[in-house]
Symmetry: D2
Subunit: 307 residues, 4 copies
């Protein structure tokens, strides 16, 4: 069973071609220039096939985001707000936004930068109880840092904060790795399955899921790198043409594993302008989060309060 | 009873002139070009006089630090390591370094930047138990962010981390405000009394003390700003000369309170080169922390591992 | 003759009270929530009175800018574009935008950051001659750095670039120092008199004027600091009440000179949130410049191309 | 004739195997843990073979640099200072250090960051003529920015500065692209041939040579990226084993050209920790430049004055 490495469920599904996949349903539509793809992994068979847990995976894509068009970011932010609101569980308690990753490593800074743009309100409720009337939610946020900088597992840190603030849900934001160059810096994936170990730009993410944290975990990410193995594969497939055999395929899998185990494994493949793209992506995600959690605020209110 | 606003106990003591103060003992010496001042607040009388809790306050000063001399930073770092080791309680469990302040506000970034330079080791102990033999300690670190960015009180966040990792002590690092221009960016204060509410560059620090956290709290800071009221006072005192009266003094106190309650209260007074000074100071503090906690490592080891 | 220290002509004029000033005319109006003040220094008498050269000084103020309202920045940017277009000389050749100041000193980074947001086009004209039809102008930009970092006088560097690219005008952008706290980070001054020596946040700006460069020089700036002496003066005036005498006034002048000659002279007084304010201000100035120079582009075009 | 893409002459030479190359002489030695390789391209035949102009290319390599060991950086800095001093022409006039590249694109920021660490002195000579006695040289520096940000060709900008300050030599610093992962962030190349068009991290560097500027140009660089095509090649060669044929080789060349012409061409391959590595490399280069130009200063003096 062939699995490609990608944090995007839609790429995992796409690698299997156009036909029906057992335990997986894929649908897609366009909304105002944004392509939305929803992958539903229905059961363990589908999960095994795509290498991802059972749940919903929604991807929003818009070419303009990569061309740094602010209108495109706004369009994606609006739709993201709607989808996020749909997946967020009802209930009491604040929403806790967790920005994963290392602020000092540019393509891994998406989570911390998104936290910077998130409109936090939890601390205002004691003084300003009328906020509830304005259809704002209590929101808090943290950027826990990475294990090498803190000496504390991310899971441990988030878990203890969940115990302290009793959120009704966690939204975990992370930089992803994708298969296709065209999705880097532009596609947004939203899932209700949380963060899986080993995903993301940093090598050793720990799992942040309902199982590990005790509350529902939505995960939100944008691919900021592609796997180096992608280049080797693309080159090979282009060279081999259509008639790639199963043996060649397995040889290539093994080969890229070897490459990544060596010095190439420390390398990342990223767009030249990643410094700017990661800021754009963080603004877009923060806009979506703010819309979903504070539906009573106008765009203008959110922009003003975000700053 | 006259109290000047400063986070440095030595300046509070100094404002009372050269004589003996009830409940306060001050001593000073020079060590290799570094001036060390130790203020011991012995009882509540002394505490009330200086506006600071009972405990030890050690200040290290070296002119060269402000002139950005790396040798001066090294000299202070070495002495700081010794003093810190002397105050650190024995015991089991890691030391938790907490970097207070807002990374996005230059003079308030001292805490988070110090965490960046702290050599964390707690996560290595399960894999590398022989580390203990090398006279290294388990160390973990966090930069909790400020209330306006997280919606969570710093105390709440640190408290929950203390509950999770059971440290033998917390070292809290913070930007301070001082009275004297000459100490900005250069003097280091170390105290065993923790962080007091209302101190620091951010207006509303919450208390981090043994009472609030349940473990000993050492606090470490460098003044990065001076109080705006200082300038008004300096100007006034220079104008009035020696014969300032008690009434004038009180009038000035009231005046500066009014100034700070107005738009001037949002202003900070800081050296032009504060962007560079705060990085220097963070490196100096991190070097001191690393020496105190990992006495078995050479300077070279520490430098290499810090990077 | 009393002169207050400020880079804003409107503050210099305001310090003389509400009456008529010889050689100076002041007018003001409101445009969509933005207060516009135009100071015209008509002759040498006015120039001596205000300590600034003969010419036009237009200040745009909007409270919302300081509160970080993006709408307020847009409103100021639009008006700035119009005023700038009005002052720009007709003619052949590109416009050269010069961002003065030191990128590494937060409040002094306004110029370099504005250059980052300026839409440069000069290099496209050889390949895309139809740009002219779209009512775009050839624009080039430089951030020459400061003397301590380059070893080259700013004037020398700009002069040699003027000789190379033959611009029809220079727009010099600089951080200013103001008298009033309320104008820091929010008021924009535009003048046709160029940059005067000794102004700005850095101590020793060299003159950039039509005399020194040989082409018209417009200067554009936002105050990012206030003079430390301001605080002393404000305190004193509040203390002394209405009945401040001329002798007291002179004493205070002398006093603040002494303060600034000492260690206080290295200090700047700046808003706590200056890191964010200087970015906002740079975006606002770049938007104004882009509108003035590329009137054929829509706001959307400019935003997209700026990124 | 096979040419691999790399900015390092030693890699171009190495691709041809161990034998003698016509018009090229290669020598290597070890100095205190630093491997030095000198490639001398003697004539046009050698130049054509390696795809680089006639001249000297000295590469300094030290594993510790990539591991972020400060001792390793110091060792390379010392040797670089010696080699640079050897190549610098005698004569009157300052040395002009030019930092190429885009400060806002992390791996392309090496040049501007090196300028930040360069000890400039040219502006001090009029006030402090005794500097000459201390074996310091007049040094000035500029970071001209990239064409897309300035609208001015780098060559044009440097040329006009050369006309203004009449340097005895230019030292141009640039981020390079290499073939081998192990050299990224660690190998330093020094050459007396200047900067060639099309090299570096930015796509369209203009030539900075004695021909184009009228004064000798030394170029100094560290690879911060590898060519994406490298990965494809490495994968392929590993797959094909030893018996790669000439046709396969050519097919692969064509293939990687195609890859780079597509969306992959915008991608860069860079170490995960490039943010930190580029700062280390800039410090190392600045240390070498400062030693070469100010031999009368001790290391301590240089460190202090650099800050």
């Amino acid at each position: 069973m062939r699995q490609i490495r990608t944090d995007l469920a839609m790429e995992s599904a796409g690698a299997h071609g156009a036909g029906e996949l057992p335990g997986v349903s894929v649908s897609g539509w366009d909304a105002g220039g944004v392509q939305i793809t929803e992958v539903l992994i229905e059961n363990e068979e589908g999960a095994k096939l795509l290498g991802k847990p059972v749940g919903h995976y929604i991807t929003l894509e818009c070419d303009g985001v990569r061309q740094r068009d602010p209108d495109a970011r706004t369009a994606v932010g609006v739709l993201l707000g709607e989808e996020l609101a749909r997946l967020l569980p009802e209930g009491k308690g604040p929403v806790l936004v967790v920005g994963l990753g290392n602020r000092m490593v540019t393509p891994d800074a998406l989570g911390p930068l998104t936290v910077d743009g998130t409109l936090v309100t939890r601390h205002l409720y004691s003084e300003l109880p009328h906020l509830t009337d304005r259809r704002m939610s209590p929101v808090c946020a943290m950027a826990p840092g990475v294990l090498g900088v803190t000496g504390i597992e991310t899971k441990e840190m988030v878990r203890s904060m969940v115990d302290a603030v009793h959120p009704r849900a966690v939204i975990a934001v992370d930089s992803l790795a994708a298969r296709s160059v065209s999705r880097v810096g532009s596609a947004v994936q939203l899932t209700d399955t949380g963060i899986q170990p080993g995903s993301g730009v940093g090598n050793h993410r720990s799992a942040l899921t309902k199982d590990s944290l005790g509350v529902p975990v939505l995960a939100l990410g944008v691919p900021m790198v592609i796997y180096a193995a992608t280049i080797a594969r693309d080159a090979f497939e282009q060279l081999a043409g259509e008639d790639e055999t199963m043996e060649q395929d397995q040889a290539l899998d093994q080969l890229t594993d070897e490459l990544l185990a060596g010095s190439m494994g420390e390398m990342i493949v990223t767009p030249r302008e990643v410094d700017a793209l990661v800021e754009d992506a963080a603004n877009m995600l923060a806009a979506g989060i703010n819309r979903a959690l504070h539906p009573g605020l106008s765009d203008q209110d959110i922009l003003t309060m975000m700053n």
